[in-house]
């Protein structure tokens, strides 16, 4: 189908640049539609999962099993009054949701959902995604400022601090992937994970970069403001944080964008650490087991694997939201600056060492194989352990207080 459209455009005799733009635009429309549907489904899923883990039923009135609940909510939000209170900065107040919403959806154009369902196959795709995802915090800060509400302001400031802190471990851990794969191109990253042909064992999260994965996961949850890092909208303290004053469509934009960024981050994580659109058994099952080579069917399989993997992580995020209490701002910052960032620096170091040893073997990308299981763990994580120990010796006093409180805990009488 892609070929068909592509050929059609070519036959029209348009210049190549224009075709490129039209193609990217078309893909973006398709993907953002997919994204919209995914988000609408996610909102429902969140409510259902939160209901099930608390032994409730969740939405079940609108449509069969409540499937249309989010649609009804959306329609409701569309028709709600757009309230502006005196003293608000009208321009910023209106611009904020758009500034928050746009980057999260633009990211979708860069994510390879399948082999061909991809807006832009850029060689620096990973970099651009991080650049875009850090843009959305501008929207939150503006919303906090423009709302003329103290809760919003505190929420906006917290969000800015949080985004700055968590951007670093996020990028550093993704850098590990880039190092291992030798590229910033997302498609190549996926292919290099599939190159090992050991399926789930050749994906980066297990074989080479488990630490990177943990860092990436926790900082991505923080990046999208999910519990337990949902400080900018902590409802027990800040009522609703930066979107306290928003109603109607503007609120809907914030709401959608939050879920969209969670979805985008989960897809990115699957791409970076979980083999993207490949099956957990290596390659594609239709191709491998059933010997079907129909490109459209294969693409469906790819999309299915990606979506399944993504939703597993989304469900985990929902489970975490239901279980964990919220952190405090100082703890949040501390977790990032005192724990995640040193750890990811060590991680990068160890991966660099690994990479150097690998280049000696003559391969450009680090691939998972029988050899990988022995070498990286011994070399990289041995080094890592030593460096970690050194860091602890040097900066040991950082943890001292924690240790004290731990001892206090053990001495409790009740």
């Amino acid at each position: 189908m892609h070929d068909l459209i592509y050929r059609l455009l070519m036959n029209l005799g348009l210049p190549v640049e224009l075709i490129f733009f039209i193609w990217a635009g078309l893909m973006f429309v398709v993907i953002s539609l997919v994204g919209q549907v995914a988000v609408v489904f996610m909102v429902l899923m969140e409510r259902k999962v939160l209901a099930w883990i608390t032994q409730r039923k969740g939405p079940n009135r609108v449509g069969p099993w409540g499937l249309l609940q989010t649609v009804a909510d959306g329609v409701k939000l569309l028709f709600k009054e757009d309230i502006m209170i005196p003293g608000q900065d009208k321009f910023l107040f209106t611009a904020a949701p758009i500034l928050f919403f746009a980057p999260t959806f633009v990211i979708y154009a860069l994510l390879p959902f399948t082999d061909k369902l991809l807006g832009l196959n850029l060689p620096i795709g990973l970099l651009l995604i991080f650049a875009l995802s850090s843009l959305s915090v501008v929207g939150i800060v503006l919303a906090g400022w423009g709302s003329n509400n103290k809760y919003s302001l505190i929420g906006g400031m917290r969000s800015a601090a949080q985004a700055i802190s968590y951007e670093i471990p996020l990028v550093l851990s993704a850098l590990g992937v880039a190092l291992a794969a030798g590229t910033l191109n997302l498609k190549t990253i996926i292919e290099s994970q599939n190159a090992g042909q050991y399926g789930i064992f050749s994906w980066y999260w297990l074989s080479i970069l488990p630490l990177s994965f943990v860092i990436f996961w926790s900082s991505s949850i923080a990046e999208v403001n999910r519990s337990p890092f949902d400080l900018p909208e902590a409802e027990s303290e800040l009522v609703s944080g930066y979107n306290t004053e928003y109603t109607g469509m503007k609120f809907a934009l914030f709401f959608l964008a939050e879920y969209a960024s969670l979805f985008g981050m989960s897809v990115l994580m699957v791409i970076l650490f979980f083999g993207g659109y490949y099956s957990p058994f290596g390659g594609l099952l239709l191709q491998k087991w059933f010997h079907i080579n129909d490109p459209i069917l294969l693409e469906f399989e790819m999309a299915t694997w990606l979506i399944i993997k993504t939703y597993i992580f989304i469900a985990l995020a929902m489970l975490i939201r239901g279980t964990l209490p919220r952190l405090k701002p100082d703890q949040l910052m501390g977790f990032s600056w005192k724990f995640l960032i040193p750890l990811s620096l060590v991680n990068i170091l160890s991966i660099a060492i690994l990479k150097l040893t690998w280049i000696g073997t003559g391969l450009k990308t680090i691939q998972a194989g029988p050899f990988t299981f022995v070498v990286p763990y011994i070399v990289a994580y041995g080094v890592l352990a030593i460096v970690l120990f050194l860091i602890l010796v040097i900066f040991g006093n950082i943890f001292k207080r924690k240790v004290i409180s731990r001892i206090q805990l053990q001495q409790r009488t009740v």
Partner: protein, 405 residues
């Protein structure tokens, strides 16, 4: 996912500054998700640090003490439920026992045991609600639903017994309104038996969760002297290390006939307050189990069978539900005064009644435990972070109707 690099915020640690900034006054409440009612806290914030906090109360003032002047004691009684609606059996007990003391009414043993069972069940419901909302204040949502699920079962028991889920109006001067329904004790036993498993589940989710520990350990440390000086009582005081439980020290009802422990903390921080309340639920279960076994006459079905069989011992004083049937409409307690304090889930619940020989009380004074407990919030909060406010406020377990009365 472990949070490692956090520490105990200390007063003054964050206050270092050379830049000229302004403080921000945030008016938390009267409507706010975590003020548990209508409380207004005028908070002065320096960034995230709370510099000063001034509670403003009275938004829920329903003039309970004034209402007593225009109602006979019996007429006034249903409105007592609303003084503190989460554990209104305690309010009723304070009121009823004071009048009983003034009028020297005798209370049968069976009634005392029924009162004890209901009060302890009520303590559990109250602590459960506290547990749920405390965790919700800290940001965890499911524990609240689990707590409410269990609370629902106990409320159902109350509905079977009194006809209402929260506004019971069940105790009477010298007795209770009606005996337990047949088979009620078995239902209580069933709920009590399956409850420890649920408590273990809560503990698995919460008690050692690293984020929870970071949020509560060392936060809002209330020394014993500070607690006593500010009139803090109940679990919050016990968390500070003072073993003061009126059920043990000045036994009322039949608490001297059951065996239970008084959990005590040693630091007086939020975590200790959490642990003390959690242990109290287990102790309450202990009391209820013993009370069910010891209650004179046993289940009503048994008692009714004995009565139907003409057993005279089944009609003796201790097995009655009224010490003496009084005419409630025109009941006039003699002139006198009495003051009761009982150990409610939140602390000392006081009731001071002066009667002048008319059906109305001359003066009724309610001492809500939350009233004094709330006053300690301001000194506790100084120099801590804004989110600690919710942890501390949640952990001292304030209920606003009792503050404002």
């Amino acid at each position: 996912m472990a949070t490692t690099a956090t520490n105990i915020p200390q007063q003054g640690v964050f206050l270092e500054k050379d830049i000229d900034t302004n403080d921000m006054v945030v008016n938390i409440g009267p409507q706010h998700p975590s003020t548990h009612g209508v409380l207004r806290l005028i908070t002065t914030l320096d960034g995230e640090i709370v510099k000063n906090i001034e509670p403003v109360i009275g938004y829920l003032h329903r003039s309970k003490e004034k209402m007593a002047e225009s109602r006979s004691l019996y007429q006034y009684q249903p409105t007592i439920d609303r003084v503190e609606y989460l554990s209104s059996f305690f309010d009723h007990y304070a009121f009823v026992s004071t009048v009983e003391a003034i009028a020297e009414l005798e209370v049968p043993k069976r009634v005392q045991y029924i009162r004890m069972i209901t009060m302890e069940l009520n303590r559990i419901t109250s602590h459960l609600l506290w547990f749920g909302t405390f965790l919700l204040d800290l940001g965890a949502s499911s524990p609240m639903f689990y707590a409410f699920r269990e609370r629902e079962k106990i409320l159902k028991l109350f509905e079977d017994l009194t006809g209402a889920r929260m506004m019971y109006n069940y105790y009477r001067f010298g007795g209770v309104i009606a005996d337990m329904p047949e088979g009620w004790l078995d239902k209580v036993r069933k709920v009590v038996d399956e409850f420890p498993d649920r408590l273990d589940e809560y503990e698995a989710i919460v008690t050692k969760n690293p984020i929870f520990l970071d949020r509560t350990i060392g936060i809002g440390i209330m020394s014993a002297e500070m607690a006593l000086a500010n009139g803090v009582t109940g679990p919050s005081l016990r968390a500070s290390g003072i073993k003061l439980d009126l059920r043990k020290t000045n036994p009322y009802c039949s608490y001297d006939e059951v065996d239970f422990d008084v959990p005590v903390g040693n630091t007086g921080d939020c975590y200790d307050r959490y642990r003390v309340r959690f242990q109290e639920m287990r102790e309450s279960l202990k009391i209820i189990r013993q009370a069910i076994d010891k209650i004179p006459g046993g289940d009503t079905a048994e008692l009714n069978k004995r009565r139907a069989a003409g057993d005279e011992t089944a009609n003796e004083m201790d097995l009655q539900i009224y010490g003496k049937k009084i005419n409630l409409i025109t009941y006039k307690p003699p002139k006198g005064e009495g003051s009761t304090i009982v150990e409610s889930p939140r602390g000392f619940l006081g009731c001071y009644i002066i009667t002048d020989g008319s059906p109305k009380a001359y003066r009724i004074k309610w001492r809500g435990a939350s009233f004094s407990n709330l006053s300690v919030l301001a000194p506790l909060m100084k120099g801590l972070l804004f989110p600690d406010l919710m942890a501390i406020f949640g952990s001292i377990d304030v209920i606003l109707p009792e503050v404002d009365r």
